[in-house]
Symmetry: none
Amino acid sequence: MSGVPAIDPNGAELVYVQVANHMAARIESGEWEPNRRLPPERELADFYGVSYDSVRRATAMLREQGLIVTVHGRGTFVKPRH
Amino acid sequence: MSGVPAIDPNGAELVYVQVANHMAARIESGEWEPNRRLPPERELADFYGVSYDSVRRATAMLREQGLIVTVHGRGTFVKPRH
DNA sequence: CTGTATTTGTTCGTATGTATT
DNA sequence: AAATACATACGAACAAATACA
């Protein structure tokens, strides 16, 4: 029903890692297609029920992994796999 | 008296609530008359010595309270009392 | 009609304080 | 002590709507 991903603050995995994993899965699954703009970071924080800080850590991971690209003032985009 | 609005960043009340309260008082007092356009949000931020973000939060409160109306690209106006 | 200036709207970036682990 | 997590606030970049010459 929910469709809302369960981020468990008391889970074995760190909150921001849980968020990063879930976001990566959405990219892998094609829910977020290449070149598409992701929801704003603050919206994602709301969506996942976590702090902006945690989303920032999560997106930092995905950026390091080359999955996304972020542009100041514009948004975050799914990087096409070359 | 002072004319200088003392927004205390370390006060018990949140910054944007302090700003909202001060703005509401200016409307109540008649300093800002009905249908008048308020100073631009960024100017208010300067005036109060707070961030644009805080002014946005404050005006959002006043909009919810029905004290002001904002039009994209035009400005923010004091709502006439019914 | 075509710019240009003004003003609000959106989004990412950074800093700080507190609490918890 | 150090890292995580949350909340607030400030700052910067990008964008859209409006007005007007």
